[in-house]
């Protein structure tokens, strides 16, 4: 089974809660780091240097390997002016590219609409996880949201096939007849049929998949395995979305954060290996982002919400290396006397993947012209 998907595919991984960028990509020779971080600080044995000033947290060792192999781009200091410290508002801004007002259209939903203008494939955009993120939501754009691949669809709990067939037929009757019965019932009816269409296309995915890669038993590994399974089935998905939660490390950061980045880096590395095994790695790029970085100074057991975070791109066609500049750690340059300043706007990075990878015009989606980078071999 090697259904090759010749079209470029983007996988977006959201690190929910605000990843501590400084303890992921560590400025290990900078005295300001050690001055500000009394407890939430890495020791000499805890990181793997990538150059004279920066190191990758040892718990994310697979990142070091991918960086050395040239498949990992580190986008330093990503953010936006007046970074919002609310998770929810912050995420909203990242999802809609609207820092100044409440936006309702998600950037990836708009991208799905550009790719599949007539909404012919309900799987053009697929979210793996619970609840459709706003990034994927635009009125009238069908996208599929799957929290459990085996469980997706309706009447899945009916074990007997015959009973399930009858139930599905009834569901189809009921939802199909809602077409033409008033705007709202019609919309719900159509959405129900989208669920059925998606579930139908997805029904063979589990059976078709075969891999020697053994993913770890954690949430992000499971999600990326689902992405691999769907992608390798060649169902036309161009944009995948998933999230990895738990990064809001106000307290207990030292035990929690290493596990998170260990799970994350292992999952991404396994995911790329899996794609390579199926000769499908060339056309997939992975963008990893978080809503904000964390405060310069720690609070004794963790770190509070800050700004100036970091994003990552992975893939066989990604030009590995460092992009933009590491935010200045000098207290004289801190925002609000406690935060790192961003050095590149996230909308420029969205623009980069939209324009250069998915070949979609970025400006109407990110709402402006923002500095892009050139992280792809094309």
């Amino acid at each position: 089974m090697t259904t090759k998907n010749s079209e470029k595919t983007l996988v977006v991984v959201q690190l929910t809660g605000g990843n501590d960028f400084m303890n992921t990509i560590v400025p290990y020779t900078n005295s300001h780091y050690y001055d500000a971080r009394k407890k939430i600080v890495l020791g000499q044995d805890d990181f793997l240097p990538i150059n004279d000033t920066l190191a990758i947290n040892k718990n994310a060792a697979p990142f070091k390997r991918m960086f050395d192999e040239g498949n990992m781009a580190i986008i330093q200091g990503i953010g936006y002016p007046n970074s919002n410290r609310s998770h929810f508002r912050g995420m909203d801004i990242w999802h809609t590219c609207e820092p100044d007002k409440v936006g309702s259209e998600g950037w990836l939903g708009l991208a799905v609409r550009e790719i599949d203008t007539r909404g012919e494939n309900v799987l053009t955009g697929v979210n793996i996880g619970q609840g459709l993120p706003r990034a994927m939501a635009v009125a009238g754009v069908p996208v599929t949201s799957i929290s459990d691949l085996e469980g997706y669809g309706v009447m899945k709990r009916l074990e007997q096939e015959q009973l399930r067939d009858k139930a599905l037929q009834a569901f189809k009757d009921i939802y199909g007849q809602a077409i033409g019965s008033g705007v709202v019932a019609e919309y719900i009816g159509k959405t129900g049929l989208d669920v059925l269409r998606g579930a139908d296309m997805l029904s063979e995915v589990a059976e078709n998949y075969n891999s020697t890669v053994e993913y770890a038993d954690n949430s992000i590994a499971k999600s990326l395995r689902d992405v691999a399974r769907i992608h390798l089935s060649g169902l036309g998905t161009r944009i995948f979305y998933t999230n990895h939660g738990g990064y809001d490390t106000h307290a207990n950061e030292m035990p929690a954060h290493p596990k998170l980045i260990s799970d994350l880096s292992g999952a991404i590395s396994d995911f790329i290996d899996d794609l390579e095994e199926h000769e499908a790695a060339d056309d997939v790029a992975i963008l990893v982002f978080t809503e904000f970085g964390r405060r310069m100074r720690d609070n004794g057991s963790g770190t509070d919400h800050g700004s100036g975070g970091g994003a990552f791109l992975f893939g066989k066609n990604v030009k590995g290396g460092l992009y933009s500049d590491y935010p200045s750690l000098d207290p004289a340059n801190w925002e609000h006397s406690e935060d790192l300043q961003h050095t590149i706007d996230f909308r420029g990075i969205y623009g980069t993947v939209l324009q250069q990878w998915l070949e979609i015009e970025a400006k109407p989606i990110v709402k402006g012209d923002f500095e892009q980078i050139s992280p792809f071999y094309l």
Partner: protein
Amino acid sequence: MKSDRALVAHLMRRAGFGATPAELDSLSSEKTYDEIVDDLVNPDRFEPIDMSHVERYYGGEPVAVHVGKWLYRMANTSRPLEEKMSLFLHHIFPVAWGKSEHGPSLYSEIEMFRKVGLGSFRDILRALSRDPAMIFWLDNNENHKDEINENYGRELLELFSMGVGNYTEDDIKNASRAFTGWTFRQPLSLYPYGHHAADFEFLPNDHDYGEKEFLGEKGNFDGDEIIDIIVKQPATARFISRHLYNFFVEDEVQVPSWETVPPKNPEAVEELTTAYMESQGNIGVVLKTLFSSQFFRKAANKPKVKSPAELIVGVIRQTGEFSQPKPGIHEFAVTTLNGSPFEGPLAIMGQRLMNPPTVEGWHTGFEWIDSGTLSERVGFVEQQFADPSKPGVSAMLKKAGSLDGDPDQLVDRCLDLLGGINVRDETRASLVKYASNLKNEKSEVGVHNLIQMTAATVDYQFA
């Protein structure tokens, strides 16, 4: 029968969270429709839930526990409109946990909504302006005599009473001045003292006692006097009336469009506005007018998509799983997977209670639905009704009868057992066809599937 059973079912879905067949039997045989409405708007006639018993099961700090307690009250109250109004007020005065991360204050705010929700709008706004959760949410604790913070003053006029276009920027400034010094005392710290809400506090030294001009009136107004002026404005009457119509009768467009898009039923909103003006803003009177009106009686077929809270509480009532306190009700808000918190069905369906996305609250109506939320709605009912040992489910299975009889009657019994739900003829026909198809299956299994399917219909998504 003293009242029409289908009409009572409609009333109880809108004014509450749906009625069971037994409740419909007793209501419609014992009371006229007008008497039922009168009871709904006079909740004091019924005993409140004894929460001391309930609190023992649902203790703790996380906001999910507070949401769970609220769901329990919605499902088990004998004062359904009181809970429904607290949900309404949470929709239009949305305060989110995400800023304060302080669950007890949010829970106290809901309790305040219960107390004032059916009284005068003046008392509602007075209580709201003194509510610590709201004060912190909209920064009124940062609104000082010498340094005005307009956040609360602005939203009070824009989102909480009159709507845009009915006041000037100067009105906002002057209203904000009147609320200077309205703040709260810090709650006791969580550890080691347990869980405490904050208390309102007025700081005379931080209050601007000077003269203000507001909506054409002049005086040394304080916050209460500003509210007195606000609540007598026809704009306030119209705005609140439209909110009530939107929440109880028929989905309107989203609130930010109200300035430009006229109401779906202008006469109905006018009728409510008149009731508001004549009763000096008594919300109980306005609601009595609403539920007694012809437009409400005819609204059973108007599109009104259930919010996730309405859907979930309706289902909990029907399955009877939480008719007595038992652990686990918070899992509708947050559940646990491999030791990590995991969003529960409320959130997956798009409504984190006590944590609305913004000060504008949730987008409602058809915007509740997308493929993920719909898949969750259908999967949720399928799962909730799957366990035949739940008291409500086992009772339904007993009463629904067998597949052997007339499928038409079987479907009608299922519709009735799910709370007298109202479906389109096409849906009913599809269910009858399904029931006939199931004939050669094991009767109990087939009937059970039919009940699950009835709760999975397009029609079940509507209140």
